[in-house]
Symmetry: C2
Subunit: 84 residues, 2 copies
């Protein structure tokens, strides 16, 4: 159905890629007394309202945006979820 869809996009480092920012945040939380953390990863999110003909078309557009600009495919992975 044609309309506006909200895409939730998450971009983060691929597993195995060194992520000093997450490591630093993890250590800083530990120093603040949060010793309950088993693991921590971080990344960027984008909430994009997309005008499209269908949910599938919106998802495809969001994926294309990731491939072209939002993610660096060499070191980053992304996920797209259409929430409404």
């Amino acid at each position: 159905m044609s309309g506006t869809y909200l895409a939730h996009i998450r971009v983060s480092f691929k597993p195995g890629v060194h992520d000093p920012e997450s490591e630093t945040i993890d250590r800083a939380l530990n120093r603040l007394g949060f010793d309950q953390i088993a693991s921590l990863t971080s990344g960027k999110f984008f909430d994009i309202q997309i005008q499209a003909e269908s949910v599938g078309a919106a998802r495809q557009l969001a994926s294309n945006m990731c491939e072209k600009l939002l993610a660096n495919p060499v070191i980053e992975t992304y996920s797209v979820e259409i929430v409404d």
Copy 2:
């Protein structure tokens, strides 16, 4: 129930706070031919595995981490979701 819970945390600018990064990304996507974007916001996410006594305790710990370190309460807002 005591165990390890995964907290999905999202941190973004409060409504009304100037966000030049999101504006720049929006314009760049437009220049690349993506003219279907009605709005775009962006921010950081943190996925944290937390050892806690209950879902409620895990959520409270995650909120405390946001207040103490992950978010700047003057200009940023955060949300916490415990997903398992």
